[in-house]
Symmetry: C2
Subunit: 375 residues, 2 copies
Amino acid sequence: MTQLINDTFLRALRREPTEYTPIWLMRQAGRYLPEYNATRKRAGSFLQLCKNAELACEVTLQPLERFPLDAAILFSDILTVPDAMGLGLYFAEGEGPKFERPVRDEAAVARLAVPDPNVELRYVMNAVSTIRGALGGRVPLIGFSGSPWTLACYMVEGGGSDDFRQIKTMLYRRPDLLHRILEVNARAVTDYLNAQIDAGAQAVMIFDSWGGVLADGAFQRFSLAYVRQVVAGLKRTRTVPASAAAPAHEEQVPCIVFTKGGGLWLEQIAAAGCDAVGVDWTVDLGQARARVGDRCAIQGNLDPMALMADPAQIRAEAQKVLESFGVPQPGAGHVFNLGHGISLHTPPDNVAALVEAVHTYSREMRARGASASSL
Amino acid sequence: MTQLINDTFLRALRREPTEYTPIWLMRQAGRYLPEYNATRKRAGSFLQLCKNAELACEVTLQPLERFPLDAAILFSDILTVPDAMGLGLYFAEGEGPKFERPVRDEAAVARLAVPDPNVELRYVMNAVSTIRGALGGRVPLIGFSGSPWTLACYMVEGGGSDDFRQIKTMLYRRPDLLHRILEVNARAVTDYLNAQIDAGAQAVMIFDSWGGVLADGAFQRFSLAYVRQVVAGLKRTRTVPASAAAPAHEEQVPCIVFTKGGGLWLEQIAAAGCDAVGVDWTVDLGQARARVGDRCAIQGNLDPMALMADPAQIRAEAQKVLESFGVPQPGAGHVFNLGHGISLHTPPDNVAALVEAVHTYSREMRARGASASSL
C-alpha cells in the first residue's frame, strides 16, 4: 500500500499537532452532487450502486475531485449487515429503506446469525480495497457501520420510524429479546468493521444515528454497552508490510463513535474506548472539549442547514465552530464535520466555500495562537 | 371561582411540600381514548372540536373521569395563534397541520400582526372559562401556547418538517426577517397566555417543541431569548375576588417551559424566569435537579413508549423516574409527566396503572424518607 500524502485527519484523531483542522462531511458522496446522480442512474438503483465496487469507488472519489477534503468515506448503506442476515432490504421509491422480514418475535430473533463479512458482504470489502487502491494515498479511507442499536431499530421497525414504537415496545416488554438481537448485531458489526480494516480502511466510524431517541438509562444498556463491545473487539492496529517507501510497521486504525442527539452522554461515550466522539450541532464544542478532556478527539459539528446560506455567512458559521473548539493543544484533536449528513439541497459551491474557510481560518488561528504564546 | 380541592400540582410547581408527586400527561385528552374519538366525530373535525367551547370542555374532562390526574390542560391546538394571524391553518387527512399561506418573504413578514386574543382567539378563551367552570375546583387548569420559535417553524415551513430547511435557510441567510417574525410571535404569545390567565387558567405552559433542532448558540438567540421575553410579560399573579370560601387574595400563576431535546441547555432554560422546566426522557432527573438547583421545579420525564409495556413493567419504569428525582426536599418540586405527548396507541388501562403507581410509590418514598430522617 502506498504511503499517505495527507494524513492530517489521522493525526487529528490521534490528537497529534496538525497544521490546520481537517474536514470531511458525512454523506459527502451523495445526491447534492450532479455527478453522483449520473452514476447512480447508470447503476440502476441505490443498492446496485452499493453492490458494484467500481461504481461505489467512483462516487466515493467524486467529492474529492471537487473539494480538498481530508478524508474519503466508503460509499455504502448503513443497512448492509441486516440485509446480509437475510432480512430483505429494499428501497420503495420516495420512502426510506425497508425490510421485507422485520424481526419482531422469538422465532425471528432465534433465526438471526452473524454473517461472514468476507462472504455475504464481500461486495463491501471489494469496494473498500478498490477505493483504497484508487485513492493512491491521497487521503485516508474511513470504513463504517451502523451501531448495534441503530441497526436493530430498522430490523425491528422494518424501516424508518417517527416514534420507534415497535422496538421500544420490545425494549420495555421483552428486553431479553432485544438484548439477543443486540448481541448478534454487536458481533456482526465487529466482524464487519474488522473485515473493512483488513480490506484497507484506515479509520472506522460507528453511526449510532438513533441512540438519541432512547431514555437515559436505556441508552446506556441498549446502545452504549454494545458500542463498547464493538470497540473492544476492533483491530486497532494493522501491520503494514515493508515497501520501497518504508519498512514493515504497525499502523493505528482510529475509531470514531457518533451518537446523534447524544450530547448529554458525552463523557460516557468518550469512555467507550473510541479515539473520537462525533457530536451534533446542539453541542457547544468548547464545553464538549472540557467534558471529554484529553480522552478523545472530537468530530463535528456544523448544522448542515448552515450550508444553505451564502458563502460569507458560511465562512462566519465555520469560524464560530472552529473558535468554539479553540486551537487544539497537544492532547486534543478536532476534525471538522457537519453534525449530520449533508442535505441533498446543498449547492456544491457552498461546500467549496466551507472547506476553504475551515482550512484557511484554522491555519490563521494556529498562527495567532503561536504568536500569542511567543509573546 | 370555587376553591381548589386538589392543588398538589400547583404546590409542586411552587416547590412547596406535597404528600405525593402530582401527575398529568401531555396530550392526556386525545386519540388513545375511545370517548375522545367519539366526541371528535361528533364535532366533525379536529379544528371544529377546538373551536367549540362545549366540546373542547368535554374532551378536556374525559381523562379526569378515568384517572385521578392532578391537572387538566386546555384542549386546543398549538397553531391557533398563527391561524389567528390569517395564515389559514388546515389539516390534510393523515398528514399534520398545514398553512395555506406560509411566511417566507419580506412582504409576508411585513403583513404579520399580533392578534387580539379576545377577538380572533375568543373561542379559546371561551373554552378556558367553560372548562374552569366545569372543573369546579377539582384540579387546576393549565393553559398553553407554542413558543415563538416553534410557531415560526410551522409558519415558515408551512407545516411539519424533517429538516427545517425553510426556516433554517431564513435563519442563516436572513436572520433579520426571522427575528421580526419571532418578535411578533413573542408579543402574540404573551397576549394569548395572559388572556388565558384572565379567562381562568391557573398555570401556563410554553411548548418549545422544536427548540431542540437548533444549533447551540442559535437556540439561545432564536428560541430562548423570545421565551424569556414571553415569560417576562406574563401576569404571574391574579386577584381572586372575595367569595363565601375566602376573602379577596392574590393567586400565583406558575409558568412551565418545555423544550423538547433541550437537556443540554437546562441551566439556561431554568434561568428564563419560569417556575418549572419540562424535560424529555433523555435527561437524568437527578442530574437535572442538581443542575437546576432550587431555581425551578422539574416536570417529566417518562418515555411515552414505556406505556406500551404491561402494568408491572410500567410501575417499575415509573419508580425509576421517581427515584431518579428523589424525594423533593423543601425548595425542590417534581411534577410527573411523560417526556412528550402520549401515543395514540396507548392502552388506557396502562395510563391507570401509571397514575396509580406514581401516586402510591411517591407516597411510600416520602414515608420512607420521613422515617429515615427521624432515626
